[in-house]
């Protein structure tokens, strides 16, 4: 067993759990985005740990990290765009009030 790898993956698991709790429990769009950020951060921690302790010579591991960072930036940009549009039309980004798409 590689203790450092398991410890780092456990920290990733903790971040994932906190992020999942936040994404599900918050009513504000910006706070939900923060939860998603934490989930993606957990993925980053896991990717770097796998690269460092299993395959440090394969740079495709670091490449994956850059892709996840891109996803984080894209998620924030699109999320804030939607938040601005929502705030402009409804005056709030509270997701409990967003029931227009409910069937």
């Amino acid at each position: 067993m590689i203790v450092e790898l398991s410890v780092t993956l456990s920290i990733g698991a903790g971040l994932f759990a906190v992020g999942l709790y936040g994404a599900l429990s918050q009513t504000n769009l910006v706070m939900i985005l923060m939860g998603v950020e934490l989930i993606l951060a957990a993925a980053l921690v896991n990717l770097v740990a796998f690269w460092r302790y299993l395959h440090p010579d394969a740079m495709s591991g670091q490449m994956f990290v850059l892709i996840v960072m891109t996803v984080m930036a894209v998620e924030m940009a699109v999320g804030f765009g939607i938040a601005i549009a929502r705030f402009r039309s409804r005056g709030s980004v509270e997701m409990e009030e967003a029931r227009e798409l409910k069937g």
Binding site: L5, Q62, G81, A83
Partner: protein, 175 residues
């Protein structure tokens, strides 16, 4: 103490700091404090990367998240009804379900991380300058298409986010 023990110590230290600040994000009523707590959490993760000898990724993480969280704090102040948390507004729902989902996710991930057979640990790691060199070769070689696609995706999402955010023009000429 050997290098490996120090590495483990700092991994645990920064890891616990990252998780703790992650919890603070959802515990505080002040939105600015939430954004700052997320910044500290992401910075602790960047420090973990450096402990794992991924210096380039660590610095990138800290720089990117410092910028991102500053923007996020601005948005928080603009959009929240009570950005300072003075009224202690309740901004959460379905707490029990969320706690259960988080708990199940945590247990599943912990079980995998401790019970799986990960194989042998890598014997050596390239030094920082060699890593950057190898990453450059990877980005401009085998992974070039993926790398360029990521750049194009960011550009597209920037344009899309701007278009979504622009106020629609009314037929009368005003915005």
């Amino acid at each position: 103490m050997t290098g490996s023990v120090w590495e483990l110590f700092f991994l645990v230290f920064f890891g616990l700091a990252a998780i703790w600040f992650g919890i603070v994000v959802f515990r505080t009523h002040s939105m600015v404090r939430s954004a700052l707590a997320l910044l500290f959490s992401q910075t602790a993760i960047g420090a973990m990367f450096m402990v794992m000898q991924a210096e380039f990724l660590g610095v990138l993480q800290i720089m990117m998240m410092a910028t991102e969280m500053s923007v996020m704090a601005l948005f928080m102040v603009m959009f929240m009804m009570d950005p300072g948390g003075m009224g202690a507004m309740e901004m959460s729902h379905q707490k029990r379900l969320s706690l259960r989902a988080g708990g199940v996710g945590l247990l599943a991930a912990l079980a995998v991380s401790w019970l799986a057979d990960w194989g042998p640990a890598a014997a050596s790691i390239p030094d920082a300058s060699r890593q950057v060199e190898l990453l450059g070769i990877e980005l401009l070689g085998r992974s070039m298409f993926i790398f360029e696609s990521a750049g194009l995706t960011i550009l597209t999402s920037m344009i899309a986010a701007t278009m979504v955010a622009i106020a629609p023009r009314k037929p009368g000429g005003g915005t």
